[in-house]
Symmetry: C2
Subunit: 319 residues, 2 copies
């Protein structure tokens, strides 16, 4: 018999069932009543530690993510190997729905059969709020299912990708050596959100220039409690990956000891609550802005029997 | 004794008092209770015929507007000279407030002492909705004061300028001869909103090319019931102004006879109502998204006692 109840599915997921977890995430993507139930359950549990990975297409994010997963499973956080790692591949530009797009199929083959790794892809859905709402909810569901760490990899560097990646506890920005890459990153707003810059494909020419550009821009920018680290990797060969993982843990420890962790989580909770509020209110406007009552007020407005403010007030009283 | 009551001020304005009208428009800009009262009164009267004039800075809009005012006062609409003309100069990019910016002072000097012309400048105000709300309200107030025609001149071709100008009954887009001007107009979204294109400074080279580019783009674009006219003027010498005024009246007559006038006004009323609704709802969110109740829900969210949806619902029940 197929289990549909979020509470049962979460219990399954907590016992290690990937099917249960996948079904909960499908609810989260759907934006239906079961979405609400799943999220309500998930928020009773800890949020996972979220590592965001972003950067322009072609920078080597997927290979780097693969390598970081392997290192995370071996080395772990705070000296303890991680039992399991969750990965959320987010593509706001793709209209493909469901849990099986590029992330699951054509990449991360190394971990495809590794039971310690759970990979889920999310693309744009039609429901209100879309991905920017579904991603934080999905992260909480994965946390509730027992994942203490989740990697969120975004595909591009559009506004939404940057927003999603920067809502992480630690945000990694991947770039390549060469003229202009640092400038591009700056333009995309990545300088303000990065905790760690990784210059991947660092066996190519231009590493020194990119690093210098980044340092200069960081010098000129607003000074924050944590100055972003700049690291070099060659993800294809594995060079520099261990150091990158150490940097992630370093940032994590800085956050805990400095109190920045709580500040960030409070900021994140605030922006989540405001976003949900805005969506809920917009839904009310949509209900009010159609139907016979709206048409009646519109006609009264056109015929000079009311003004827009009085008409809006009359409609909102019924909302 | 200073008169403050909108009803009294409107009565004054209807008897020809510019002071009364100016004070009502200040209320409209302020977004206060008196704004609401003034608008409620204004909507009991006819809307004026609105002629929108937009185009890139430097195209010669001000001089052209000057000339059109003079022609309008002499020739009028439907064969009758206009008794008076209102002019609203809108600059969304300027933070200067009140009724006395560039429009009134350094230009339209020809009409500065002409009692038949009322010129008012509007810049960005801080209140909710801003200019996109204040402009339609100001137009209605001017209509209630007895102006049967108002010219709305916008300063640039930003999104808001285009939105304001295109909410007119007839929209004139001013450009200059030369390579690329038609392309720029297209990019700014002016092709879809123009009823009349005026190639001003038509004594310069490139008129034929600009006209050809415009015709081609109109051929390629969506076909509408009214194909925009393309006229040539030299506003500084007055060449072509009479023909431009004839074109405005031609479009006006087409709108009446084709029923497009009512369609446009209905669309305009709909977008005004929806805008006011959205503003009203957003104001509710702002009230809900602060204060002790919000803080309590936020803390509950951070501590895992609630989820964003439940918190938003709890806050909105009190809205």
């Amino acid at each position: 018999m197929k289990v549909n109840e979020p509470a049962e599915l979460l219990a399954m997921a907590q016992r290690g069932s990937r099917v249960g977890l996948a079904r909960l995430l499908t609810y989260v993507e759907s934006g239906t009543r079961r979405h609400r139930e799943s999220v309500a359950l998930a928020y009773q549990h800890q949020s996972p530690y979220v590592l965001g990975i972003t950067g322009a297409p072609g920078a080597g994010k997927s290979t780097l993510t693969d390598r970081l997963i392997a290192t995370g499973l071996n080395v772990g956080d705070c000296g303890n190997p991680l039992e399991q790692i969750g990965v959320l591949c987010v593509d706001p530009s793709s209209p493909i729905t469901g849990g099986a797009i590029l992330g699951d199929r054509i990449r991360m083959q190394e971990h495809a059969s590794d039971e310690r790794v759970f990979i889920r892809s999310m693309a744009t859905r039609g429901h209100l709020g879309g991905l920017s709402q579904a991603v934080p909810d999905a992260l909480r569901v994965m946390g509730a299912a027992g994942f203490s760490m989740v990697l969120v990899e975004t595909v591009g560097v559009g506004q939404m990708e940057v927003q999603i990646a920067s809502a992480a506890d630690t945000t990694v920005v991947v770039m390549n050596p060469g003229w202009g890459d640092a400038m591009q990153a700056n333009k995309a707003g990545l300088l303000e959100v990065a905790d760690i810059f990784i210059i991947n494909k660092a066996d190519r020419a231009g590493v020194r220039e990119t690093r210098r550009d980044l340092e200069q821009m960081l010098d000129m920018g607003q000074q924050r409690p944590w100055r972003p680290l700049i690291l070099e990797t060659v993800a294809t060969s594995g060079t520099g990956i261990d150091a990158a993982w150490v940097a992630v843990n370093e940032h994590r420890e800085f956050q805990s000891s400095s109190g920045q962790f709580d500040v960030r989580r409070r900021d994140r909770a605030r922006s989540e609550l405001t976003r949900v509020l805005t969506i809920a209110v917009r839904a009310r406007v949509d209900v009010v802005a159609e139907g016979a009552r709206y048409d009646a007020q519109l006609s009264a407005l056109i015929e000079g029997h009311t003004d827009p403010y009085a008409a809006a007030e009359a409609l909102l009283e019924l909302a």
